[in-house]
């Protein structure tokens, strides 16, 4: 004969459960959403500029955020005011505080502020390069074996030749990391003096495909070699650098690979065959953010709390925003020709086919 449980046991269990949730409620986090804030049609502004050259739209003292969209470049304010717009002559070296718009051939360059006002000029053999905040001006020799730094007056600070052509470069704060075709890395200090030199790993054919240094110089990273291709992360240990992480990659790149550290030096991202790899070098964590297509842009948002990645697959681009190592917040796909991914006031600045869009992450 089957024994039947008394109904009171069941009711007591339910009541205890209700009591537990009443006494120890699980806090539900606010939902994070990606919300469009404003859009600016820069291609219309460019076509309204009858001269076809550069035009400053506003002289109001606002913080300027640079963008590059196809052959258009300029600066936009946090509220969407277009501050300056220009067409690239050949290329443009862009920074937060100024730019150099330069032609294919030429040795004389002008640094202009985000309103297009001339701030300095200098000469050199090669092409110019600015760091993100415009405080450092480099000249990369045309043959890719020489670097020189000039001060804001255009006077040479230092110059250096390398034993092989440069394949990649990372300029962050006082640190400049150069990756070479012969598979070696050179980390130079503010005076152009090497503070670290060496091959990050041993492969059948040594070559550096990408390199990155943190703002504080605490970590350097590279993707190097053929057979195998390897991600190497080295950490500063006193006055030298030692390997902290080595990940063999399934990729077989023969071109430069996107990689970089977050501005707070916490995260490293690198282009991977299936998306973007992310590493937290201090803890040794690594993960893969799967993306459809080839990585076409990256940005760290909200003091590096979030990361945004754009991936291109043919004529479509997917913008993915993630909380590193936790979750994907948003992933939107749209048709795009020219593309730009940057930041405005710590939020996403997305450029697509002549339009700029600010997307904020907000908690609902």
């Amino acid at each position: 004969m089957k024994k039947r449980r008394p109904a009171s046991i069941f009711l007591t269990s339910v009541l205890l459960m209700v009591l537990y949730f009443a006494l120890f409620p699980y806090p539900l986090g606010k939902e994070l959403v990606a919300k469009p804030v404003w859009a600016v049609d820069v291609s219309s502004a460019a076509s309204n500029n009858a001269g076809g050259g550069e035009a400053s739209m506003s002289s109001a003292p606002q913080e300027a955020f640079p963008f590059r969209l196809g052959d258009l470049f300029g600066y936009v304010a946090a509220d969407g005011t277009l501050l300056h717009l220009g067409h690239t002559l050949f290329q443009v070296a862009l920074s937060r505080t100024g730019y150099i718009n330069y032609a294919r051939m030429g040795t004389d360059w002008i640094i202009r502020d985000p309103r297009g006002q001339r701030t300095a000029s200098f000469s050199g053999n090669g092409y110019p390069l600015l760091d993100a905040d415009g405080s450092r001006v480099l000249v990369v020799s045309s043959d890719l074996t020489g670097l020189a730094e000039v001060d804001r007056n255009g006077d040479a600070a230092w110059s250096r030749d390398f034993p092989a052509i440069m394949t990649s470069l990372s300029l962050q704060g006082d640190f400049l990391l150069v990756g070479l075709l012969n598979g070696s890395l050179q980390l130079l200090n503010r005076n152009g003096v090497p503070v670290y030199q060496g091959p990050p790993g041993s492969s059948r054919i040594p070559v550096i495909y990408g390199c990155a240094v943190t703002q504080d110089g605490s970590f350097i990273a590279s993707i190097s070699g053929i057979g195998p291709q390897v991600l190497s992360v080295l950490g500063r240990n006193g006055s030298s650098y030692a390997g902290t992480l080595r990940i063999p990659l399934s990729a077989d790149y023969r071109r430069e690979v996107r990689m970089g550290f977050s501005p707070d030096s916490r995260y490293l991202y690198y282009e991977s065959r299936d998306g973007v790899g992310m590493v937290e070098p201090r803890e040794g964590w690594s993960t893969l953010v799967q993306l459809p297509g080839r990585v076409a842009g990256s940005a760290f948002l909200h003091d590096s709390r979030f990361a945004a990645f754009a991936a291109r697959d043919g004529g479509r681009v997917t913008l993915t925003i993630v909380l590193p190592f936790l979750e994907t917040l948003s992933s939107e796909s749209f048709p795009a020709g020219s593309l730009f991914l940057g930041t405005v006031d710590g939020q996403t600045l997305l450029g697509v086919d002549g339009r700029l869009l600010r997307v904020d992450i907000e908690a609902l």
Partner: protein, 293 residues
């Protein structure tokens, strides 16, 4: 008069050729119109390869090799501006790399990892820091970390035109004075400077090219010799292979050749300057002069 020896021979072409695979190199293009030569002063930098004109033409692998690096101008990402324009680097047996630059944008073809000798790499173009359609072709020796003179290893091209030594000058306290037969010059430290170059044989107008080598003899003794076999970084500066001669040690700001420093001592002296191009054509200029007290 004492004449300090200041330049040494670079790596010999023979040794370089021995390091290469037995099947040898072929030219990367059909029309072998050399318009820029290894070791020239290229706007403040040593020229680390050959410029080959002849209009747009297919560029081919000179040896079988693995693709090491590729960049096509206009790609959506590059961490540095690339004056080489669209370029392809192949790794060959013997740890030699060939670098083909200034290729036409979009001509690099679909990605592949291995090339056979003669396979098309791209089309010569004017990408990067370039104002005319050409191929910039460099050879890099991974073992010695040096750029090699491609003419050391490529099959020779016909060239019967000898180099030109237009004038020889004496630099005393940074003042240049012509050094001619019968000249009377002051005693002291001086530098022999020369305006010397090779010429393109295929054009009627003046198109100077760099020399392969130059040698200075004073009173029957070799005072200096520069041979553009290779370029190698020494002390953070690109220098003529096997020497510490940087660009400013080889060329004046005006592009004249620095042939060597000499201590001028009283008496009669005889100087011979020999300039050689890569085909072996040589031009010699002799000057007898007197150093006065």
């Amino acid at each position: 008069m004492t004449t300090p020896r200041r330049c040494l021979l670079g790596v010999s072409a023979l040794l370089l050729a021995a390091a290469l695979p037995v099947h040898g190199l072929d030219w990367p293009v059909e029309k072998k119109t050399v318009i820029g030569t290894f070791g020239e002063d290229s706007g403040g930098r040593f020229f680390d390869g050959l410029d080959i004109g002849g209009g747009p033409q297919d560029v081919r692998a000179v040896l079988p090799g693995d693709l090491v690096f590729l960049y096509d101008e206009g790609e959506d990402y590059s961490s540095l501006p690339r004056g080489l324009g669209s370029f392809v680097v192949l790794h060959h047996e013997g740890k030699i790399e060939t670098i083909s630059c200034n290729l036409k944008k979009g001509s690099l073809g679909s990605p592949r990892t291995a090339y056979a000798a003669g396979d098309k790499i791209g089309v010569s173009g004017d990408t990067g820091s370039s104002d005319s359609i050409h191929l910039h072709f460099s050879l890099y020796d991974e073992e010695t970390a040096s750029f090699l003179n491609p003419l050391s290893l490529l099959p020779p091209v016909a060239d019967t035109q000898p180099p030109v030594i237009r004038r020889i000058l004496l630099s005393v306290s940074d003042i240049l004075v012509p050094l001619e037969n019968g000249a009377k010059v002051p005693a002291g430290q001086a530098e022999i400077i020369a305006e010397a170059y090779d010429l393109r044989q295929d054009v009627r107008f003046h198109w100077p090219l760099g020399l392969y080598g130059i040698r200075l003899d004073v009173d029957g003794k070799e005072a200096a010799r520069i041979v553009f076999d290779s370029l190698q970084v020494a002390g953070g500066r690109l220098a003529v292979g096997g020497t510490r001669l940087t660009l400013s040690g080889v060329y004046t700001a005006d592009g004249l050749l620095r042939c060597g420093a000499v201590e001028m001592r009283q008496g009669n002296h005889h100087l011979i300057l020999s300039a050689r191009d890569f085909a072996g054509n040589e031009t010699t200029k002799e000057i007898s002069f007197t150093v006065r007290d």
